[in-house]
């Protein structure tokens, strides 16, 4: 009996622990919400939609590889920086890349993360008990963003896996979906967005920067232009033009200053802000910023000699697009000295922002995705292809006139064209000069079916016709798909 008495406290302890064991071990996260309690309120639906936008500021979505696969790869720009910095961009510039180049891998991963977020919201928001008007708008925003992600992906890679909902583990091995079906989804998404999004002016001031009806129609017009569906491209562009929501800024250079953010000319742009507390910036400005003195950035995306030579000497857009050594920064804060390790330094002025808090990596310059001038030129190109060259030239001359600004006409004469073919070349060149260093050139060249011809003329003689119009599917993705993904021709 004596022994048993001693065992009592131990037995009591054992019972106590058995009794409370399961609750005791059930530690729920203290800070983070868990998935099972999310998508319950309208507020959470807004938060999830914000998360789809948030991805637009990412390095792999709108910054390094994005610039590499739009500007640097084209004849508008060279890699920039020092010769051995980020050699993968040099490979893109010179068409020596293969399927292991990290540029295509980066955008692929980044854009599909965006697709995942849009799909998540599109799947879950319909069941959220909330204001139906707001619900429809949020769904339309996610449709717009998903279309934007897929539009860039399909233009870079061609056939791609078309993911429209969260995959379960037994669906992880996917095949590529034909381009036609990808475009069908893009068009469907944008049509839904155009039908359900408010116009820019209908948004509250605090919602400026969200996708609008104009943005959806504008992007749709570009999709149709890419597909050479001229009438539809013209119709959607005219929807934007006739909406009364947009007009060109009087001065070209003003578009790319802080004051030019979300201007009357902005159809869609990615908002960023350099807060003292961080968290709202992107590195878009930094990677293209002046390398050396003043220290604004890494010095990538050097406007090429070919681009510089493309402008008439007196076109004000050249100066507004390019920084050269010895030039004073637009805010007068410094003279550009540059870096002795960089040969023939030259930078993209459109990506410039004045110094802000927390250093260059916290860039607050908005990333312009679709400008009204772009929409006018889409309308011009489509109209010309439909046979109305005079109207086409008139549309393009609106852009030309603004570029000229207060200068006398001879400095930048109006565009003229003798015939449809002539007008096509004139409008193509005007697109290049107007949208230079805005990540449009490569997609335009491929769309116009002359990427190879132009690249080889620009001295990029490694360009392989019929191959390099598309980028390789990242090798790691082929491996992880269990071999279900097939490589683009020429990259096997």
């Amino acid at each position: 009996m004596k022994n048993l008495k001693g065992l009592l406290p131990i037995s009591a302890a054992v019972i106590l622990l058995f009794g409370c064991g399961e609750d005791f071990l059930d530690k729920r996260p203290l800070v983070d919400q868990t998935a099972d309690t999310f998508f319950q309120t309208g507020e959470q639906a807004v938060q999830a939609t914000n998360a789809t936008y948030g991805i637009l500021r990412r390095f792999d979505v709108s910054v390094f590889s994005y610039i590499g696969m739009t500007d640097i790869v084209s004849d508008d720009a060279d890699k920039g920086s020092t010769p051995n910095d980020a050699t993968f961009l040099g490979e893109l510039d010179n068409f020596t890349f293969d399927a292991s180049n990290i540029g295509p891998g980066a955008v692929w991963g980044g854009y599909y993360k965006g697709v995942f977020r849009a799909n998540l919201s599109l799947a879950r928001i319909p069941d959220v008990p909330m204001d139906e008007g707001l619900k429809t708008r949020l769904l339309a925003e996610n449709h717009f963003l998903r279309a934007y992600f897929y539009f860039n992906l399909v233009r870079w890679f061609g056939d791609i896996p078309l993911i429209t909902r969260q995959l379960s583990p037994d669906e992880y091995e996917q095949e590529r979906t034909p381009t036609e079906q990808v475009y069908a989804l893009i068009i469907e998404d944008l049509q839904f967005a155009a039908a359900n999004l408010p116009e820019k002016s209908a948004y509250a001031a605090e919602d400026l920067g969200r996708a609008t009806r104009g943005a959806a129609n504008g992007l749709l017009s570009k999709v149709y232009l890419t597909r050479q569906q001229w009438q539809l491209a013209r119709d959607r562009a005219l929807d934007v033009i006739n909406s009364g929501e947009y007009e060109l800024l009087p001065e070209y250079g003003q578009i790319f200053t802080p004051e030019g953010e979300h201007s009357s000319e902005s159809v869609f742009e990615i908002s960023t802000v350099a807060l003292g507390t961080g968290g709202g910036g992107s590195q878009y400005n930094e990677v293209q910023g002046v390398r050396g003195t003043p220290n604004l950035g890494w010095g990538f995306n050097r406007p090429s000699d070919n681009l510089v030579a493309a402008w008439p000497r007196s076109d004000p857009r050249r100066d507004a697009t390019i920084f050269t050594l010895g030039e004073v920064l637009p805010d007068g804060s410094a003279v550009i000295v540059g870096d002795p390790d960089v040969a023939n330094q030259r930078q993209n002025q459109k990506s410039w922002v004045p110094a802000g808090p927390l250093g260059n990596g916290n860039g607050g310059g908005n990333i312009r995705i679709l400008r009204y001038a772009d929409v006018l030129l889409i309308a011009a190109e489509a109209t010309n292809e439909l046979g109305n060259t005079a109207e086409a030239i008139e549309l393009a001359n609106r852009v030309r006139t603004r570029a000229r600004g207060p200068l006398p006409k001879p400095f930048l004469p109006d565009l003229t064209a003798a015939n449809k073919e002539d007008a096509r070349q004139v409008i193509w060149l005007e697109r290049r000069l107007e949208l230079a260093m805005e990540q449009q050139r490569w997609f335009d060249l491929v769309r116009q079916g002359r990427a190879g011809e132009v690249m080889i003329a620009a001295g990029k003689d490694k360009f392989r016709l019929g191959v390099n119009e598309l980028f390789p599917i990242p090798q790691s993705e082929i491996d992880l798909s269990g071999g279900m993904l097939r490589q683009n021709p020429g990259y096997e």
């Binding site: 004596k2 071990l25 948030g54 051995n84 050699t87 605090e206 920067g209 969200r210 003292g276």
Partner: protein, 995 residues
């Protein structure tokens, strides 16, 4: 203050007076060993009292026994002897040597065992071995002391801790061992003062660690702190040392002229129109003034430790009180560390069968963290001065001025930690002990980072000052209830252990920052003093809990056959409901062959024991909540909207979770043989082990088009195997005692499985998108992976006859075409080294004679490689190591150094940057002198020892960096020298006094 001191002095005087007033009864005598040699330092005491003394240099003692009836004599390595005083005034005693290896008591998990009964792989290190090294880091004092325990300092930063690996690496995650300090389980022993440690015991194999279940897989280190010892009387001791630390060696960098020459050469190689130092071309005899940036940042720095303690014990109670202050500055300017610790250990037999006790440790750590300037010194131009003529900081290029960084960029940290437990033990009947122990471990930390407004150059400036502050608090409680029952019947001895334990941990932090403080003085550094619009704040918290049930049976039959069986069941909050509990069994057998009747009596091997153990243990170091899908929110879930460009909060469940998450499980087999030769003068121990870890947590990549971050899954398998050897010789020739021991261990590490069809885990980012390590099936974890090199392409003919990489030229590295397809590309990369040493070893030699004691420690490792990343990191033209002077040019057709460039193919991960990591270090030499007892008596001290010690005195290696000891906690990011802060050489002198 003065009043307080006076009061103390008065109290002390009164005590002395009281002591003097007692009637004296003096017993004196001499203590010798069987050979007739006198024994110094033998404890002579009156059992059950605090009365006692120690023998002096001549083995003599003299003690006031105050009417006691017996005396006890105790000496390490000898059997205790008691004798009745019986009115004698002179008692001479001859002590018999004990077979210490049999009777020594070893701490094992949840109990103690006689060394001869131990069936697992268990090693111990005693206090005197630990305190020889001048360091604040207990773990670093273990370096080279135990076979199979690799200890590598993370850096030489003051107060830095060490990476400890027991028997290789069995995870891709956290490979830290579990520490158990006087029964408190923890992952961090930086609060411990080395002087407070009595002994460290390392449990290496699963049969020894299985009693710690889900936390035993990386090995267990048991730390026993000092307590009052019966028989020593009341002992007050002081132990102080002071030393100086210095850099062991500099890196061989170019001087100004050499740098300018190389910079010109590089500009030509890059095809630039102009060279940066044209005057050196036109006038080659120009002598440029060199700034040695390394001299500018390194210093000789002090290290010191001050310890006082008091201890004592009777048969009813014991106590130890200690206080220590440790202070260390960095050999790189700017870093400081101090730690003040106090400890109170006590045990009280409050009733004949009831014991209460407590261990309580307090530590206050303060650190000034200097800026990271090692790479500045490595990269900065030696042509540039660091100070202008007016003493201001000079603008430097292309890296910042390190002296200015020291001035402007410092952060501070401070933490208070209290670790302690109280326990009660009740022995209702002989052999049955019920024990309940409750412990708390609480840390409160704060850190601060302030950057003032400054301008050194456009590259190095700060226009708006900023302040950030963090507070964190971590607390753990542990409640352990155990019952043990020991009984002998016939030839059997049985010991049973059962227990229930529970533990809960919570950590939280609060952080804030602000910019634009109106004033920069220290007094104004509060978050309220900045610009409101720049304020940020954040906080977080996490919790975890474990409930465990444990049991063990030790059975010995006829003192020959030993059996240990244990089982622990752990339930942990970290794992999904589907796998919340894990069961960790083990079994071990021991056979004391020398106890067999057939064993020859006078055989040279007088002692022999064989051990065999097998068991399963786990690793739970995976972080909290990994099995629960969380809603993610970060910089890129928030979006910017509105005319005011406001941040709009965004969140979404983005990560895939794994509700089936469970422990990494290590199954280990161990076979050991222990021997004593020549009456245990020579002892030998050999162990062979195979440790297979399954279900290793891994993020198995999924295709990016799935769009979500992949979950953590239990997927991989890693095996470690090896042999450990310990040989020790201990003898005494006349008055000269001497000992020598060597230990060595091999580790063969390889990945057996990566699960789910994954081919490789690539890691070890070395910049420019290059990864330097790869873990694949069949190779060691985190092996270096890159191009094999075969000299330099010497000329056009060679260039044309060998396969080359796109963009290569004459003068570039020749990479080996592994797949012989005529092209050098990514497929030609191969395994070019491993960061895991094949062999680690240590050796100790000691001599004591005539009051002098000398100890010499060596430590080394072999068979590993280092990736010298700092050489490859060239985003700009930086300074060069002098070996670049041998770069390939047409005039200097080097076959080792390729043509000079800042980047490109020659900087691909290749053998060019792999260096041997083998080294042998003269770890420590300590020479001490203890005052003879007679002199000590006159000075009224029982111990007075003076010593001088040198740590890291000599290094034999072939590595070109500061130190070949390069490690990271992450096993797949290991052995990469990104500019490691080297451990210093330390010369210190110390004094130990006891009275």
């Amino acid at each position: 203050m003065n009043k307080y001191v006076t009061h103390l002095a008065a109290t002390a005087l009164l005590c002395c007076a009281a002591a003097v007033g007692l009637r004296a009864q003096i017993v004196s005598g001499t203590v010798t060993d069987a050979a007739g040699e006198t024994l110094i330092g033998v404890n002579v005491l009156v059992p059950g009292t605090t009365t006692g003394t120690v023998t002096d240099f001549d083995g003599a003692y003299s003690l006031d026994v105050d009417g006691a009836d017996s005396l006890a004599f105790r000496y390490v390595g000898f059997t205790e002897q008691r004798t009745a005083i019986a009115g004698r005034n002179t008692i001479d005693i001859t002590l018999a040597e004990a077979s210490e290896f049999l009777d020594e008591v070893v701490v094992v998990g949840y109990g103690v065992q006689k060394r001869s009964d131990v069936t697992g792989s268990v090693s111990t290190v005693d206090a005197e071995e630990i305190t020889r090294i001048a360091t604040g880091d207990v773990a670093s004092a273990l370096q080279g002391k135990i076979a199979g325990v690799q200890v590598v300092p993370v850096s030489g930063t003051p107060g830095a801790s060490s990476v400890v690996r027991i028997r290789g690496i069995g995870t891709f995650g956290d490979a830290r061992p579990l520490y158990v300090v006087d029964g408190m389980l923890t992952d961090d022993i930086t609060f411990l003062n080395p002087n407070d440690i009595e002994r460290i015991t390392v449990l290496k194999d699963a049969s020894a660690t299985a009693i710690y279940g889900s936390r035993g897989a990386n090995g267990v280190i048991l730390v026993t702190t000092r307590r009052g010892k019966e028989g020593g009387g009341s002992l007050i001791s002081a132990d102080v040392y002071y030393g100086q630390q210095s850099l062991i060696r500099k890196i061989d960098l170019a001087n100004a002229n050499e740098f300018a020459f190389l910079a010109n050469q590089l500009a030509r190689n890059e095809g630039r129109a102009t060279v940066p130092y044209p005057f050196l071309v036109t006038n080659p005899d120009t002598v440029l003034r060199t700034t040695d940036w390394q001299d500018a940042i390194f210093q000789v720095a002090p290290i010191a430790s001050y310890q006082v303690s008091a201890s004592g014990a009777t048969d009813r109670s014991s106590y130890l009180v200690s206080a220590n202050h440790f202070a260390q500055e960095g050999i790189v300017r700017g870093g400081e560390f101090t730690r003040t610790t106090a400890r109170f250990n006590g045990e009280f037999k409050v009733k004949p069968r009831v014991t209460l006790g407590q261990n309580l440790a307090f530590s206050l750590r303060k650190a000034v963290n200097g800026p990271g300037i090692l790479n500045n010194a490595y990269q900065g131009y030696p042509t540039l001065p660091l100070l202008n003529e007016d003493g201001s900081f000079a603008a430097t290029n292309p890296v910042g001025n390190p002296l200015a960084q020291l001035e402007y960029q410092n952060s501070t940290g401070e933490s208070v930690r209290i670790v302690g437990n109280v326990y009660a033990e009740y022995e209702p009947i002989d052999g049955l002990r019920l024990k309940s122990s409750f412990g708390l471990d609480r840390t409160d930390g704060k850190s601060e980072n302030f950057v003032p407004v400054f301008f050194v150059s456009p590259l190095q400036q700060n226009q708006v000052n900023s302040l950030s502050q963090t507070r964190d608090a971590n607390r753990t409680w542990l409640w352990e209830n155990t019952v043990t029952y020991d009984r002998s019947f016939g030839e059997s001895r049985l010991s049973l252990l059962g227990g229930v334990t529970s533990q809960e941990s919570r950590g939280e932090f609060l952080t804030g920052s602000v910019q634009g403080l109106a004033a920069e003085n220290q007094e104004f550094r509060f978050l309220a003093n900045g610009t409101d619009s720049t304020q940020t704040n954040g906080s977080g918290a996490g919790e975890s809990a474990i409930v465990s049930y444990l049991g063990r049976v030790n059975y010995a039959f006829a003192n020959r056959y030993l059996l240990t069986v244990s089982l622990r069941a752990d339930g942990s909050s970290k794992f999904g409901a589907n796998n919340r509990y894990g069961y960790f069994p083990s079994a071990a057998l021991g056979w004391r062959i020398d106890q067999e009747s057939f064993y020859p009596q006078d055989f040279v091997i007088n002692r022999m024991k064989a051990r065999l153990g097998y068991g399963t243990v786990g690793n739970d170091k995976i972080g909290n909540y990994r099995s629960i899908p969380l809603v993610s929110t970060d910089v890129f879930t928030n979006a910017v909207f509105g005319t005011g460009e406001a941040l709009n909060f965004g969140a979404a469940p983005l990560a895939l979770a794994n509700p089936d998450l469970r422990w990494e499980q290590t199954t280990s087999f161990n076979a050991g043989l222990e021997m004593g030769l020549l009456q245990d003068k020579l002892t030998a121990e050999v162990d062979y082990y195979v440790k297979t870890t399954r279900d290793i947590l891994l993020v198995v990549p999924i295709a990016d088009y799935i769009g979500a971050d992949p979950p953590v899954v239990n997927a991989a398998t890693i095996e470690n195997s090896g042999v450990e050897v310990l040989l020790a010789w201990r003898d005494r020739i006349g008055r000269v005692g001497y000992n020598a021991s060597i230990n060595g261990a091999t580790v063969k590490n390889r990945v057996l499985d990566l699960g789910g069809g994954q081919e490789a885990i690539s890691s070890g980012d070395v910049g420019s998108g290059r990864l330097s390590t790869r873990s694949i099936v069949g190779e060691p974890v985190g092996s270096f992976y890159g191009f094999e090199t075969d000299g330099v392409i010497q000329n056009q003919a060679e260039f044309e006859s060998f396969p080359t990489r796109a963009g290569q030229q004459v003068g570039d590295l020749r990479f080996v075409d592994q797949n012989a397809d005529g092209v050098i590309d990514g497929a030609d990369r191969t395994f070019i080294g491993s960061p895991i040493p094949d062999v680690t070893f240590g050796a100790t030699f000691g001599v004591d004679v005539a009051g002098f004691d000398l100890a010499v420690d060596f430590y080394g490792q072999a068979g590993n490689e280092i990736y010298n990343q700092k050489v490859t990191s060239r985003f700009n033209t930086f300074n060069f190591e002098r070996r670049f002077l041998n770069s390939f040019t047409t005039d200097n057709p080097s076959n080792t150094e390729p043509r000079l460039l800042n980047g490109g193919g020659n900087y691909e991960v290749s053998q060019r940057f792999i260096e041997k990591g083998d080294f042998l270090r003269l770890r420590n030499v300590t020479l001490g002198y203890s005052l003879p007892g007679t002199l000590g008596d006159r000075l009224r001290v029982t111990k007075l020892r003076l010593y001088a010690s040198g740590t890291n005195l000599l290094l034999w290696d072939s590595y070109s960096g500061y130190t070949p000891e390069v490690i990271a906690e992450s096993p797949i990011n290991n052995g990469i020298d990104r500019g490691v802060y080297p451990v210093p050489r330390i010369i210190n002198v110390g004094l130990q006094v006891g009275f």
